[in-house]
């Protein structure tokens, strides 16, 4: 893989929690990987292995102790203040386990927020919202408040909000974690559709083999280090799922 078509490029990334005079904990150790444009990559690992930490580094919510992170040509580690906020607003779409919808806003207002932050005109905004709502089949939910939606519906609204401004990468931190199996499957299918139809790069973090089986490539993380890597190639999903289970057996021995 060449650097030129990489959307995310991580080199020598380390993260140590705790100040020098406090008890320290190294959550990430020398992480190196890339995500190509339009790729659907999964990061898999047990609870506490450092997945959320890694995602926080990529999305600038936290700063690395060492190493480089380049997202869509921006050196994330060199940004400060407003640059960081603007970077998150423009380059990254985020889906969280707990939806992170604002309950005081309707679904439509929630989805429109990233565009409003950019100062998009209301006409363009309406159009973009309705387009994305069609794609995710939530057009009839737009006027509802989050409290009136089911978990699966909430997560679809969250996904719509994450992609409405066409970020260069969509990141999800266990987005299916709070969903029942049917809703989880629907969401993963949607992510696949988004990835294929809009050629959007997706980085999915999960501890669940079923979710991981939707990815094209999986990086296994353990104790803050990337151990092995699996590629789906031309296998169908259930075969890939089996391969993941096998890999986990050896990875976690």
């Amino acid at each position: 893989m060449t650097t030129t078509n990489a959307v995310v490029s991580v080199a020598g990334l380390e993260k140590t929690y705790g100040k020098a005079n406090e008890r320290q904990y190294q959550a990430l150790k020398d992480i190196n990987f890339q995500v190509a444009k339009g790729e659907f990559v999964g990061i898999m690992g047990a609870s506490g292995s450092g997945k959320t930490t890694l995602l926080n580094m990529l999305s600038t919510l936290d700063t690395p102790t060492k190493g480089d992170v380049i997202v869509n040509g921006h050196d994330v580690t060199k940004m400060r203040g407003n640059q960081l906020a603007d970077f998150r607003a423009e380059e990254v779409g985020f889906i969280f386990q707990d939806f992170n919808l604002l309950e005081s806003l309707t679904a439509e207002e929630n989805i429109g927020l990233p565009l409003a932050l950019k100062g998009t005109s209301s006409r363009v905004m309406d159009q973009a919202i309705h387009e994305v709502a069609e794609t995710l089949s939530i057009a009839d939910l737009l006027q509802k408040y989050p409290a009136e939606l089911s978990g699966g519906q909430k997560q679809r609204v969250a996904a719509a909000r994450a992609i409405v401004h066409h970020p260069s990468i969509l990141m999800g931190d266990e987005p299916t974690g709070a969903l029942d199996s049917t809703s989880a499957r629907e969401l993963l299918d949607l992510l696949t559709t988004i990835n294929q139809k809009q050629a959007m790069s997706v980085l999915l973090v999960t501890h669940d083999p079923f979710s991981a089986s939707f990815c094209q490539r999986i990086l296994f993380i353990k104790d803050g280090q990337i151990g092995s890597e699996l590629r789906r190639e031309n296998q169908d999903r259930s075969a890939f799922y089996q391969e993941i289970l096998n890999e986990l057996g050896t990875f976690n021995e």
């Binding site: 999305s59 919510l61 936290d62 203040g81 407003n82 960081l84 906020a85 603007d86 970077f87 998150r88 607003a89 423009e90 990254v92 985020f94 969280f96 992170n100 919808l101 604002l102 309950e103 005081s104 806003l105 207002e109 429109g112 927020l113 990233p114 565009l115 409003a116 932050l117 100062g119 998009t120 005109s121 209301s122 905004m125 408040y145 409290a147 009136e148």
Partner: protein, 603 residues
């Protein structure tokens, strides 16, 4: 076991309980201070000449009791909202309702009693320091004011403990009647209620009508007498509430549909407000009333303070008259900013006092002229000596220049040659009229004191508008002091009312702003968003409060007759009060920023 669990729940919300306890304590302390003034008959008798003073204090006490009831109701609902979830959980785990009821009852009562006891002690200390400080600053000398006054302690304890027993009973009934499920999900209940436009319109109109009745009642206090106040309180409260419900929500909702709402954080701001104002309608109503009362009380209080010298000017043609002035008195007079000054020679003989016509022709005696009617205007005029020879002896100020303990001596103005021949005790009297009584009060006070020391009939020797002023200071002293006191008390309660609500909303907002932070909202944008949101929550009751005050001041028209007016010079009072209010807003804002803004988001 259950008791232990309940205690653990309290420990988890230490900060909220501390705020609650502090608020209740402050309220009890303030009430004690006021009860100390209102129930101390010796103090009132010594300081206010008329019986109307105790009426005024009684009215103040009623207002304060009403506010206290509302305040405790509000604090209690805050307490209940903290505990609903916990107790719901205990019930789901199988705790008996009766046991839960007991716990809630005890918890409320203990909290209340502790707050009352600490409050009274604090009130004692505050009475000692703050009251003294206020009095010094107002230049009032109030006798018989003691910090420790048993009837006031009893009144405070009875009211507060009584109210807390009621609150405990209410909580007991509430918790044992509500279903477990409702208790558990109290904070998740959808805040988006249906808007029924027709109903809202009706509520809005009804609110306006009620407000109109209330404002009218205040203006018509002369006709309605004491009935005006309860009528106005009820109608204005209900009217404000209905108007808020109808208009503020409608306004926010219609704003949400505009293109403006789709820019930057505006949709979030409107969503927050929509969410809040609905929850906050009741609180905003109360705060607007508190605001009005605080501002009204301070306006009236400072109105009296400012306008008293002006009023006193109506009561005499000269500020002070000095007899046989000494060198020391002359030095004091030289310090005054004098408008008019004259010295006359008197000869006192029996019941008569003689004046030299030549002297009076050269230096005519100034007389006070007042127009009659509603808009009284005062002026100082002099007459030709011929005319004055007739009118002078009936002029009360002229008569006042020569008095003894038994009577006013009858003045007679005689020609210079006659005057020279006239036998009797010769004295001189110097009348002084100053430009600004308030400015010169300290000097005149010294002069009056010297006069009193020098003459055996002190009060009679110092006639003049200064004397009226002194009398009126005593007369209005209680009222003026009460104005300041209630104003500050209401402002303090208003402050902690908003504080309760805002602190109880902070954890939810913390989550929301964290989300915005993750979505890439700039720090500055979040800061200004919060400033706008809290600013609007402060602004709504502020505006309503100012309107209430502007109408409410009508009530004081009969008390402050022309040339005094409750509306005179309110600009500066409003400015000072709004300044205080703004400072409070800023403090709340900074606190809120600290609590709510994500830590990582610092610039």
């Amino acid at each position: 076991m259950l008791g232990k669990l309940a205690l653990a729940g309290i420990k988890n919300r230490r900060r909220d309980y501390l705020v609650l306890l502090a608020g209740l304590t402050m309220s009890a302390a303030i009430f004690y201070m006021f009860a100390n003034l209102a129930t101390n008959t010796a103090f009132i008798k010594a300081n206010a000449v008329t019986s109307s003073a105790s009426l005024i204090f009684g009215f103040g006490a009623v207002l304060l009791i009403l506010i206290t009831i509302v305040y405790i109701m509000y604090a209690n609902s805050f307490l209940l909202s903290m505990r609903r979830h916990d107790y719901g959980l205990f019930m789901m785990l199988g705790a008996k309702r009766k046991r839960i009821g007991e716990l809630v009852f005890l918890e409320t009562l203990i909290l209340g009693t502790v707050a009352t006891v600490i409050g009274i002690v604090l009130g004692l200390l505050m009475s000692k320091f703050l009251v003294g400080f206020l009095l010094d600053n107002l230049g009032l000398h109030l006798a018989h004011l003691v910090a420790f006054y048993v009837p006031a302690i009893i009144a405070t304890a009875v009211l507060y403990v009584g109210l807390f027993i009621l609150a405990s009973l209410f909580n007991l009934v509430h918790l044992t009647r509500t279903t477990v499920l409702k208790l558990l999900h109290s904070d998740e209940q959808a805040n988006q209620t249906q808007v029924k436009p027709f109903r809202q319109a009706v509520a809005g109109v009804l609110g306006l009508i009620l407000l109109g009745i209330g404002y009218w009642a205040l203006a018509a206090i002369k006709v309605l007498q004491t009935a005006a106040i309860p009528l106005a309180l009820v109608t204005i409260t209900l009217g404000t509430y209905l108007l808020f419900r109808a208009t503020v929500l409608m306004f926010i909702r219609s704003l949400r549909k505009t293109a403006w709402a789709k820019k930057h954080l505006n949709s979030f701001l409107l969503g927050q407000l929509n969410f809040r104002v609905h929850n906050y309608t009741r609180m905003l109503t109360i705060v607007s009333l508190l605001f009005a009362m605080a501002l009204g009380a301070i306006t009236v209080g400072s109105g009296y303070h400012r306008q008293l010298p002006m009023m006193a000017g109506n009561f005499g043609a000269y500020t002070i008259a000095v007899h046989d002035k000494t060198a020391q008195e002359q030095r004091l007079i030289d310090r005054l900013d004098i408008r008019h000054q004259a010295t006359y020679t008197q000869k006192r003989q029996g019941k008569m006092v003689y004046y030299n016509a030549a002297e009076l022709a050269k230096e005519p005696f100034e007389q006070l002229k007042m127009t009659t009617g509603d808009n009284v205007k005062t002026s100082y005029v002099t007459e030709s000596i011929k005319k004055f020879q007739k009118t002078g002896p009936t002029d009360i100020d002229f008569l006042g220049l020569a008095t003894t303990s038994q009577r006013m001596l009858t003045p007679k103005i005689v020609s210079a040659s006659q005057f020279a021949k006239q036998s009797g005790k010769t004295t001189t009297v110097t009348t002084v009229r100053v430009k600004d009584l308030q400015r010169d009060t300290p000097t005149i006070k010294k002069l009056a004191k010297l006069e009193r020391q020098r003459f055996s009939q002190p009060a009679e020797m110092t006639i003049g508008s200064y004397q009226s002023y002194e009398m009126m200071t005593g007369f209005f002293g209680g009222l003026e002091f009460m104005g300041y006191f209630l104003g500050i008390a209401f402002l303090a309660m208003l402050a902690s009312c908003l504080m309760f609500k805002i602190l109880s909303g902070a954890p939810g907002d913390q989550r929301r702003y964290r989300m915005l932070y993750k979505m890439g909202v700039r720090y500055q944008l979040m800061r200004s968003g919060i400033a706008k949101e809290i600013g609007i929550l402060f602004l709504i009751p502020g505006i309503m409060g100012i309107i209430d005050v502007l109408f409410g001041l009508q009530m004081f028209k009969p008390l402050m007759q022309s040339p005094m007016s409750p509306y005179l010079g309110i600009g500066s009072t409003f400015a000072i009060f709004l300044g205080l209010y703004a400072i409070y807003y800023l403090i709340t804002l900074v606190l809120y920023w600290r609590i709510v803004l994500p830590k990582g988001a610092v610039k």
